[in-house]
């Protein structure tokens, strides 16, 4: 049985059907005029050989082509792209089935940050009354390492609401290079979680090593196709309307190999996309449709996911503002566009502008988490632990986010209003109405133990004390102390023998490690 996620029966929609169709039409027109600038020769040739109008751009410091994609190619691609994408997992119970026609939301971590935020709780003494001592959480940023990635995957394995894993931290150890980063980040993730693992690829040269590793874990080529324990995300698009050379090549190679892939575009309204809602939607939709079209031209039937990460620019820095209200609007709209095409949607919520956990972080995260969840994207990169607009990861924050998602999932349970329920309730009301105390408390007890009542906030302090961070920290350490099901010793041994570049310290069966 795949993971349940949470089914949204009536997804939140901001646009009318007519508005959605108008955006679609405008995107198609944009793909034809002005078209997109493609820096990858193979992609340009592929489009050209299927009837797109491809002309070299000159003068240009690098070879590039203007590609005008006709509506016919886009429509055929939408038609041939699978409407349901299966993302496998080491533990088959953690499989995700993303159906474009079903707004079943799965909550996913990620994405890659450079900074890992540690927390400790130093004690402070009150100046005016030295007998009073308090502890205050302090956050310390540092560069992420492969050990951090293992730790994050380990905790994410145990986060109840988290359905799939996108790596949370960029591994920047001294012995990590361009040539061994991919195998190490995939292995560190796969070895510490039995949930689905999605990642980008740093070096195309590592693709086959990563796939060989996945085959060894899944049990073979066919087994990997049946149970794709890994998938990829590629940012082949550089907004506005450009296909980057290297990531487009990576995208093409992954499509050839038939593994699930997200076509991701992340335009910034106000700088790399129009500031107005209609503008960023027309553009991002055109960019994603162009990627989907390429995927189907390269390998018809490639399991492709409509990846939308639209964001508004901050007016003070022109940086991304994931905390902006409009960012949630764009994401909700994109979920609606993906649904319009019947394709599974990768969406984004929960990323916040603030740099450390706290009130602003909670407000920004909950705001977008609730609204974007309600819009029903099948694969919601809801950024467990992410802070400072995708720059910082804090494991403590990830644990806090899990509590938020428990609340959101509980809220989204369907109401139980059936005939037998009504009859029971009417009897209860009649029975209580004639008692002197008129209290329903005695009826609560079975319900209380049936799981039908929401639990208090997970990190509620005693009395009026706010101990949220300290309690979440305790929880984080509890989760770290829980074992994870590593890849078995025999497979691990084969992986270390056959896959070059793996760091020996990642082998948990190495002497002194297990």
């Amino acid at each position: 049985m795949p993971r349940e996620g949470i089914l949204i029966d009536a997804p939140l929609q901001r646009m009318t059907t007519e508005q959605t169709e108008r955006i679609h039409q405008a995107s198609l027109e944009i793909l034809n005029d002005p078209g997109l600038v493609c820096f990858n020769q193979e992609a340009a040739e592929t489009f050209g050989s299927h009837g797109a109008d491809v002309t070299p751009v000159s003068p240009s410091d690098r070879p590039c082509w203007l590609v005008r994609i006709p509506e016919r190619l886009v429509s055929q691609a939408i038609e041939s792209a699978p409407k349901s994408v299966k993302l496998g997992a080491r533990n088959p119970d953690n499989t995700l089935v993303l159906r474009g026609d079903e707004s079943r939301v799965h909550f996913i971590s990620g994405s890659e940050t450079n900074i890992w935020l540690d927390v400790d709780f130093p004690a402070y003494v009150k100046k005016s009354d030295p007998s009073v001592e308090i502890t205050v959480p302090e956050f310390h940023p540092r560069r992420g390492t492969v050990a951090d990635l293992c730790k994050s995957a380990h905790v994410c394995e145990h986060l109840e609401t988290l359905d799939g894993y996108i790596r949370t931290v960029n591994i920047q150890d001294k012995d990590i290079t361009e040539d061994n980063k991919d195998v190490n980040k995939f292995f560190a993730s796969l070895d510490n979680t039995t949930k689905h693992v999605m990642s980008g690829l740093t070096s195309l040269g590592q693709l086959d090593n990563v796939l060989n590793m996945a085959r060894l874990i899944a049990g073979g080529e066919e087994e990997l196709r049946e149970n794709p324990i890994i998938s990829f995300i590629t940012c082949l698009v550089k907004s506005p309307l450009q296909f980057v050379d290297d990531t487009t090549q990576t995208f093409i190679e992954i499509c050839r190999r038939g593994l699930p892939i997200v076509v991701s575009s992340s335009p910034q309204a106000g700088s790399t996309a129009p500031i107005k809602e209609a503008g960023i939607l027309v553009q991002i939709n055109a960019e994603v449709l162009a990627g989907i079209t390429l995927s189907q031209l390269v390998n018809k039937g490639t399991p492709v996911i409509y990846g939308s990460v639209p964001v508004r620019a901050r007016m003070d820095t022109l940086g991304d503002s994931y905390g902006a209200v409009e960012t949630s609007q764009y994401n909700v709209d994109c979920a609606q566009l993906a649904r319009f095409y019947g394709l599974p949607n990768y969406s984004t919520s929960g990323v916040c502008d603030t740099k450390t956990p706290g009130q602003q972080a909670s407000i920004e995260r909950l705001f977008s988490d609730i609204l974007v969840t309600l819009s029903g994207p099948q694969y919601l990169h809801c950024a467990y632990g992410l802070l400072d607009c995708n720059s910082v990861f804090c494991l403590l924050q990830a644990v806090l986010d899990d509590a938020h998602f428990k609340m959101i999932k509980f809220f989204l349970r369907p109401p139980r209003i059936g005939e037998s329920e009504i009859a029971d309730i009417q009897k209860q009301i009649r029975d209580v109405a004639v008692t002197p105390q008129k209290l329903y408390i005695s009826y609560v007890r079975k319900v209380m133990r049936s799981g039908e009542l929401s639990e208090p906030y997970s990190f509620e302090g005693d009395g009026e004390t706010d101990n949220v961070f300290a309690l979440a920290y305790e929880r984080m350490n509890e989760l770290l102390a829980k074992p994870v099901q590593h890849i078995d010793q025999g497979t691990t041994s084969r992986i270390f023998q056959e896959i070059p570049g793996l760091l020996p310290r990642l082998n948990v069966y190495e002497k002194g490690r297990s």
Binding site: L439, I441, R445, R449
Partner: protein, 229 residues
């Protein structure tokens, strides 16, 4: 046989089952004799009232208290058990005079004039009855004169006053003044509670204690050392 009944009585207090129709917590309990039926059965079997209370009802409530402290039980569980024990005490009342069991005291409780809120008052009444107090509920929106008169005529050991509203809490002060004027203030210990009042307010108006909730009331009474006023 007697031990079986007492043991079942204790277990049913823990389950919070007053009558055989109650579900309790464990599965398949409905239909089996509960606290009321078992108390009657114990009397029929001439089991000493002291044993029924101390080894059955009180022993059960002690376990409930422990489970509440360890957060295995919540207030609805505590109330269900207390209500079952209170109902059993009603059955046992006629037999108490002939036994060595002494009730913990008479507790009169009321929501003051102008205030009709009674959830808190009712919960306090259930918990205190379950804890072994004779509880006399005077109701809601009770006129000051009626409360003063009740105290004069019935000599309760404790008087509990409840007010939810800031507009009605001042009535508590009037009641205390009325008791003083009638010379009975020192014969009763006054506990106040409700959303509008506080420890500070209790001191201000000359009440004996403020109770944050029903459990607070039980604790306050225990702190009084169960000494009757």
């Amino acid at each position: 046989m007697g031990e079986d009944i007492i043991s079942a009585l204790k277990e049913n207090v823990i389950q919070g089952r007053k009558t055989k129709d109650d579900e309790g917590i464990d599965d398949d309990m409905a239909g089996k004799p509960a606290v009321l039926e078992l108390t009657q059965q114990a009397l029929d079997e001439t089991i000493p009232v002291e044993d029924i209370i101390s080894k059955g009802l009180t022993a059960g409530m002690e376990v409930v208290g422990e489970k509440f402290s360890s957060k295995e039980y919540f207030i609805p569980d505590m109330l269900a058990s207390a209500e079952a024990v209170g109902a059993a005490m009603d059955i046992l009342k006629p037999y108490l005079e002939d036994s060595n069991v002494e009730m913990k005291g008479k507790f009169a409780i009321a929501t003051v004039k102008g205030d009709i809120h009674d959830i808190g008052k009712n919960i306090v009444a259930i918990l205190l009855k379950g804890a072994g107090y004779e509880v006399y509920d005077l109701g809601i929106d009770v006129p000051t004169e009626k409360i003063v008169q009740y105290v004069k005529e019935n000599n309760p050991d404790f008087l509990g006053l409840s007010a939810l509203l800031t507009t009605t809490m001042v009535v508590m002060s009037e009641i205390i003044e009325g008791l003083k004027e009638n010379g009975v203030r020192d014969k009763v210990r006054i506990l106040i509670g409700g959303a509008a009042v506080s420890d500070e307010y209790a001191r201000e108006i000359g009440a004996d204690a403020y109770c944050v909730d029903g459990f607070g009331a039980v604790k306050v009474l225990e702190a009084f050392g169960q000494v009757k006023a």
